[in-house]
Amino acid sequence: MSFLHINNIRKHFGETTVLKGIDIAIEQGDFLVLVGPSGCGKSTLLNMIAGLDSISDGELLLNGRRINEVHPAQRDIAMVFQSYALYPSMTVAGNIGFGLEMRKVPKHERREAIERVAKMLQIENLLDRKPGQLSGGQRQRVAMGRALVREPQLFLFDEPLSNLDAKLRVDMRTEIKQLHQRLGATIVYVTHDQIEAMTLATRIAVMRAGELQQLGTPQQVYDDPGNLFVAGFMGSPSMNLLNARIVMVDDEPVARIAAGEGTLELPIVRDREALRGWQDREVIIGLRPEAITDPASANRQDGVIHETSLTVSLVEPTGADVYAVTHLGGRDINARMRPGTQLSPGEQTRFAFDVSRMVAFDPQSEERIR
């Protein structure tokens, strides 16, 4: 029996359906990130777990207990909101202790709990201030303190970092991850930022338009995308997706891709048996930028390398890497070259394709071929 079980949950607002049957199960201590573009229903799902939105259909189980109709206060959950939602008329200590006060925890116990949490979050010196006197990062900490102090079974985070500036966001992300590791808490976290999802999650649920696209570990979602949407959404720069035709060479399937005047043939390594059935049909193949490199930085140990010469059309140095853009299969594709690579547009250079990481999709259904 899983710890949190979201069983075929649906949500209707009048005629429109915003969640079309979501099934997710996670274990105690898991960090589930719900990720997807805005309007995919991830926040609605979180609000339904919190009890702030009603569940139209399906069942929600927390630690074996059905909580569909349980009031938010009785679900043993705590939530951190995007706007932090601190109570402006109370001090920081009052904010953190409010939930305990409502649960009639005696004053001295409350004081101890507030101090313990404040120490953990390094906000002891702010306890007597009002939220209006705090910076964004400090408010964020207070909001987390309010959730932590109650020691609930489940923590819910609704885009908690989206109001912070870029640097602070990275710092807080690390802190949330440390907090999760130290407390072993079970967390459901909503974000539209796929990097946040990759770095924090033990389980990622990629959602689109009210449907669960894929549920898996960050590595599974990244390396084994279930469909074109997940492939394109996760990863930055995003996965290269190009048109190809499956042809048989020496009775083995290869992906034939238009490359300038000629063609490029990449041998199929993954899902070979499934792709045999796609002989002489168009597919979309996906290759991460880091699977297309210069020959010297190719991963020859674990990968299967196929080299070819292509014309560079654009060079984007980022400092840590150099991304070379080239035209292949009707699209611009990104290749990640060794830092310091000297390239200029229009130049012919050798590219190494790690075909062991190549995935293929059905262009009609957009599903993975495997």
Binding site: Q74, F81, A85, Y87, S89, F98, G99, R146
Partner: protein, 301 residues
């Protein structure tokens, strides 16, 4: 360059543009200076003069002021304005807040209800006063209707009871202003972050505690504005009382404004009337100047 203005012409035009706003505004500025502030000064001087039926500019020092404070009717007027003002402000705020909270529960027909509650504010005090005078008049309104419906023992004669008449004025005034105060509170309630209420729900606070501990403390600026608006309306109240009771029965519903009117125009005591007018102005100024000061300072920073 035949089309471009000569340097001199440009200078004249620039001067014109600089002076035009001042020129346009100056007549109204002069009129306000004379008829508002000029007459304030004039009234203040009259309160220190020997004026009776007509202005008399001979200096009398504090004579009119001491006569004012020794006047029995002025005592009644001050007592009444205390009762009226306090009950009016408190009732309007309590009822207005209650209505706003009820209307904020995402009910249907909110727009229509809001308009219905706001309409009394669109009536002039004279209309409100006359309507309530008819309604509460034992021979015409509520009491007569009840008798005709068969409830012979029903009696509601506060309007003609000198001990209770002031409360009928409170009822009418509250009826008129509550909708407006409700709209103020409703706007305040709408400005509160919905996530905060969700957070409080998860924290386990029941609805009344969410209002008491989280929402109402955030409405502090609305309370302040409501008190200032209502307090100056209370002190200025004149037409409502004239229409409903004319200050009677006897002097039982006299307030400073009706006192001032009757002393100035029917009792030929312009000096006392001027003193009472200056006193009212001072009270209103004491309320509004600190309020404006704090508002303007906030908007500047």
């Amino acid at each position: 360059m035949p089309n471009s203005p000569s340097p001199q012409g440009g200078g004249a035009r620039a001067r014109m543009q600089r002076w035009l706003p001042k020129l346009v505004l100056s007549p109204s500025f002069v009129l306000i200076l004379f008829f508002v502030y000029g007459f304030i000064l004039w009234t203040t001087y009259i309160s220190f003069s020997n004026s009776g039926m007509l202005p008399d500019y001979s200096w009398a020092g504090l004579r009119q002021w001491s006569r004012l404070w020794n006047s029995w009717t002025w005592g009644i007027a001050l007592h009444n304005i205390w009762i009226f003002g306090l009950l009016y402000i408190v009732s309007c705020i309590v009822l207005g807040l209650l209505l706003a909270i009820l209307l904020d529960q995402r009910i249907r027909a909110e727009g229509a209800l809001r308009t219905i509650y706001l309409y009394p504010m669109a009536l002039s005090f004279i209309v409100t006063g006359t309507a309530w005078q008819w309604f509460l008049n034992p021979g015409l309104g509520l009491e007569k209707t009840m008798h005709e419906l068969g409830w012979q023992s029903f009696s509601f004669n506060w309007l003609i009871d000198s001990g209770m008449a002031i409360y009928t004025i409170v009822i009418a005034a509250v009826w008129q202003a509550t909708g407006f105060i409700m709209a103020m509170f409703l706007a305040g309630l709408r400005g509160i972050d919905g996530e905060m209420i969700k957070a409080a729900q998860i924290d386990g606070a029941p609805a009344w505690k969410i209002y008491l501990r989280i929402i109402i403390p955030q409405l502090r600026p609305v309370f302040l504005s409501a008190v200032v608006v209502l307090a100056h309306l209370a002190i200025k109240s004149f037409d409502l009382i004239v229409a409903m009771t004319g200050g009677g029965p006897g002097n039982s519903t006299a307030v400073p404004a009706t006192f001032m009117y009757s002393y100035a125009f029917s009792r030929n005591e312009m000096g006392i009337a001027a003193a009472s007018a200056v006193f009212m102005l001072a009270v209103i100024a004491a309320l509004i100047i600190p309020y404006l000061y704090s508002e303007l300072r906030e908007s500047r920073s």
